[in-house]
């Protein structure tokens, strides 16, 4: 147990270092974007004097390195700065957006993770049957189709034709949980289709790999049922790869949902970032990127900790 606490501490410290390095990369890439907010606001025909004045106002005339240091020292103290577009504090701007994204991700995960794992286990149990092949093929089809296309098909079916669900997922904090779930059901289903196949196939493969293990044969020869062999003897040993693929997909649900958010006009972090890039609202873009990176770092850490906790060799040393 002590070793796990130590591991978490070192990994967290490393994570902070990674984020610092990432912040440099983010800053440099945003810096490399052509044009800036002054040009964006004033348009193509602005006089150089006016552009320079706005730049001075927003502090954009300061050289890159001091600007980076000012930004990062603010971030370290919890101050993300203000949006250049509307001068509101970024933390305030991000707050609801972040919780919206987290809500959609959690909602999707609650559907897709149990679904994918159950299907994966069932496919391992009934491998090489027609059901196995059909499910695998449909799963592959679902990941291969572009997600906006999936989204539009679902909107066409459930909103336009059947009229069961709203096509636009514009939620706000005043809604009840049930209302929000109803509004986000379509994007959640779309994302479930996108992420489930990966997790399902990995679960199936991880378990099937273990079915060749000697202790699985021994379990059969002990007279245990196929169900018990797979659930009790194979599954616990397949957890590490399964956990890893689940975490990877959870990270995708936070970071990679821009397209789906745009289709459903969902007020999430991805939308905010796309809008901010268009407006050259540099501090907002930077903060979004940093949040995405932190999500990756934390979920990977979580995957490693869970892998440790499910490994008896590490948990019970000799």
């Amino acid at each position: 147990m002590q070793s796990i606490v130590k591991m978490i501490a070192t990994r967290l410290a490393l994570g902070v270092l990674v984020l610092l390095a990432v912040s440099v990369i983010i800053f440099a890439s945003v810096e490399a974007l052509p044009g800036d907010i002054a040009v964006e606001i004033l348009g193509q025909n602005a006089t150089p004097e006016a552009v320079a004045a706005i730049r001075r106002d927003l502090g954009l005339d300061i050289p890159a390195i001091p600007r980076y240091l000012a930004w990062i020292s603010g971030v370290v103290q919890g101050d993300f700065g203000n949006s250049l577009a509307n001068q509101r504090p970024i933390s305030e701007l991000m707050g609801t957006r972040l919780s919206n994204t987290a809500f959609l991700a959690a909602f999707t995960a609650a559907i897709s993770v149990p679904l994918a794992l159950t299907l994966g286990i069932l496919l391992a149990l009934f491998r090489d049957t027609t059901g196995d092949r059909v499910t695998n093929a449909s799963g592959l089809a679902a990941v291969s189709v572009p997600e906006f296309f999936l989204a539009y098909v679902l909107v066409y079916l459930f909103s336009s034709k059947l009229g069961w669900l709203p096509a636009i997922s514009n939620i706000n904090p005043d809604m009840t949980l049930l209302e929000r779930m109803e509004r986000t059901l379509l994007p959640a289903i779309t994302l479930t289709l996108v992420v489930s196949a990966h997790m399902m196939r990995m679960t199936r493969t991880a378990i099937i790999d273990l079915l060749e293990a000697m202790y699985v044969e021994q379990a059969y020869l002990k007279g245990l049922s196929r169900r018990r062999v797979i659930l009790v003897h194979a599954l616990p040993n397949a957890l590490t790869p399964i956990i890893n693929v689940v975490m990877l997909n959870l990270a995708y649900l936070v970071v990679g949902v821009v397209v789906v958010e745009v289709v459903f006009v969902y007020p999430g972090l991805g939308q905010l970032m796309v809008d901010s890039v268009a407006a050259r609202d540099v501090p907002v873009v930077q903060t979004c990127c940093l949040v995405f990176s932190a999500t990756f770092v934390l979920l990977n850490l979580l995957a490693d900790v869970l892998a440790q906790l499910t490994n008896p060799r590490l948990l019970h040393p000799r």
Binding site: Y215, E217, Q218, L221, K222, G223, S225, N237
Partner: protein, 552 residues
């Protein structure tokens, strides 16, 4: 026995593997009868179908195998005609299985007690507390250390010999009528094997169990079995009571199995050559903080073979890693051909690297499946001797001829198309391509069948005579030592306990550990196990010497 009915009867069983339209026969019309209270030994080389037959006795077939004919009758019912559910009800409770590698047969995720009692709890409906106390009794009977603590451990926390005994306890717990032992001691050291064999023999006798004992090792089967059946490529060769079979095998194949154990290198007449190829002086080495070698000194002359023997974990392979420079020793030095070599392989000169070549235990993993034999052997020719193109090809062909393989046939093949013995020959050719002065062989025959292994040993002997290289031969098999060694070094816990000419060490061992190791090697005599156990028991009673080591 003829008037009794067998409790297990296999009639005309045929099993195939591979594709439906091009089947590979695994078993070909095999019959087997097993009577109450007897142990039947199944002997054969890999591919003989002995494991498949052992599992078939449970009505179980590995994936890819299918029955093409015959019956397996146990207590009047055909196991092959049953549903999976009906078979599950018999497995573990009526017929139990003890596998080859206990380390791989226990689930790493659960405590031993939970696994040992699982069948009793789930299948036989024994209350958990009763199952646990029964298991404890078995642990005590099998002389497992601290039986009360033992069940709480995870598989990785106990030794191989203990796991194998726990596996036997697991099989015995539901008091089955029949137990299938599938090479249960093959993965163990000889000294551990004596204990485990003894435990199993007692258990079979005490519980009146009928057993099928599958092994490639004749001497082990001789200890365990009342009757022996010899298999070759899925067919029965012959069957007879153990003593008759040992005394007078009838078939040519059986005789050839018997004779392999009799090769012996003639004793070397003095030292033919004064040239020292390898001198190891006072080497200490460790993995991290764990010391593995302590004050090791050995030497090998040109044309001479040194056998390093010892149990697993005694540091044999670590010594090979030090010789090749893969592991830097903490202290001491290694001299190659009389001059000190750098401790790490990165610092060694090309000629020092060339001087020491290695051959590994597993030819399957030592060769790149994607490369042709010509490429595999050609690589060291380019690296060490700068041979390219036609020259390279010519030399590779010569090397193949040296190891007795036709270059026209084999140069273009990939390792996938070769048998285990052929692959090991390719490994030898690759090592010889460098023209080494020292050849290190790390358990090179232990993954091979006896007859194939004999061929490899004879090949190495002939090559050594022609090329005069020094050989360091790591093995745990003392029969092999007699066959090839000039000098022997015995290792225990990272130290050399005895080092000298083969006949001196093997015939007149000075250290108790060497004596124990030598006496633990099974012999053909079916009384050997009982005798040796009595002897060891006496030793431990009278052991007053601090050197007397407790059984692991």
């Amino acid at each position: 026995m003829a008037d009794k009915k067998p409790i297990l009867s296999i009639k005309n069983l045929s099993v195939s593997a591979g594709p439906e339209n091009d089947p590979i026969p695994v078993l070909n019309g095999v019959d087997l009868d097993l009577y109450k209270g007897e142990v039947l030994g199944l002997i054969g080389e890999s591919g003989a179908g002995k494991s498949t037959l052992g599992l078939a006795a449970m009505g179980y077939f590995r994936r890819g195998c299918r029955v093409t004919g015959g019956t397996v009758t146990c207590a009047g019912v055909d196991l092959l005609a049953m549903t999976d559910q009906q078979r599950e009800a018999i497995h573990g409770t009526k017929i139990a299985y003890v596998a080859q590698s206990a380390a791989a047969s226990f689930n790493p995720a659960y405590r031993l007690m939970d696994q040992v009692t699982e069948t009793a709890r789930i299948r036989a409906g024994t209350p958990a507390a009763k199952a646990r106390s029964d298991a404890l009794e078995l642990f005590e009977r099998m002389k497992l250390p601290e039986p009360h603590q033992f069940g709480l451990r995870y598989p990785h926390q106990v030794s191989g010999g203990q796991l194998q005994r726990a596996l036997t306890a697991m099989a015995m717990l539901c008091q089955p009528d029949i137990v299938i032992f599938d090479e249960p001691t093959t993965a163990l050291d000889v000294t551990t094997q004596v204990d485990v064999l003894g435990t199993m023999k007692d258990a079979v006798r005490d519980f009146g169990i009928a057993g099928i004992y599958v092994s490639h090792d004749l001497t082990v089967v001789a200890q365990m079995a009342d009757r022996i059946k010899v298999l070759l490529r899925g067919r029965q060769v012959e069957e007879a009571p153990t003593r008759d079979m040992l005394a007078s095998p009838q078939q040519e194949y059986t005789k050839s199995l018997w004779s392999v154990r009799k090769i012996q290198k003639p004793p070397s007449v003095g030292s033919k050559s004064p040239e020292m190829r390898i001198q190891v002086e006072g080497v200490h080495a460790s993995y991290g903080k764990v010391p593995v070698l302590e004050d090791v000194s050995i030497n090998v002359r040109a044309g001479e073979t040194l056998a390093i023997v010892g149990e697993s974990g005694s540091g044999k392979s670590t010594l090979a890693r030090v010789l090749t420079g893969l592991l830097k020793p903490r202290a001491g030095r290694v001299l190659l051909n009389g001059t000190e070599a750098a401790s790490g392989y990165r610092q060694r000169s090309k000629s020092d690297l060339r001087a020491v070549q290695m051959i590994y235990q597993m030819p399957d993993t030592a060769l790149n499946d994607q490369q042709s034999v010509g490429t595999i052997i050609g690589r060291p020719l380019t690296f060490y001797h700068g041979l390219r193109g036609e020259q390279n090809r010519k030399r590779a062909s010569e090397l193949l001829e040296m190891i007795g393989m036709d270059p026209k046939v084999f140069l273009q093949r990939t390792p996938r198309q070769l048998s285990g013995g052929q692959k090991q020959r390719i490994c030898i050719a690759r090592a010889l391509a460098a023209e080494p002065t020292v050849l290190i062989c790390d358990e090179v025959t232990s993954a091979l069948d006896q007859i194939v292994a004999e061929g490899i040993l004879r090949l190495l002997e002939g090559l050594q005579k022609d090329l005069n290289f020094a050989q360091v031969f790591i093995t745990h098999d003392l029969t092999t030592v007699r066959a090839i060694a000039d000098t022997v070094a015995v290792m225990e816990l990272g130290r050399i306990v005895e080092f000298g000419p083969r006949d001196v060490v093997l015939d007149d061992p000075q250290k108790p550990y060497t004596r124990k190791l030598l006496r633990s090697v099974p012999e053909m005599d079916p009384n050997w196990l009982d005798d040796i156990r009595r002897e060891f028991a006496k030793d431990t009673e009278t052991a007053t010497s601090p050197e007397g080591r407790a059984a692991p």
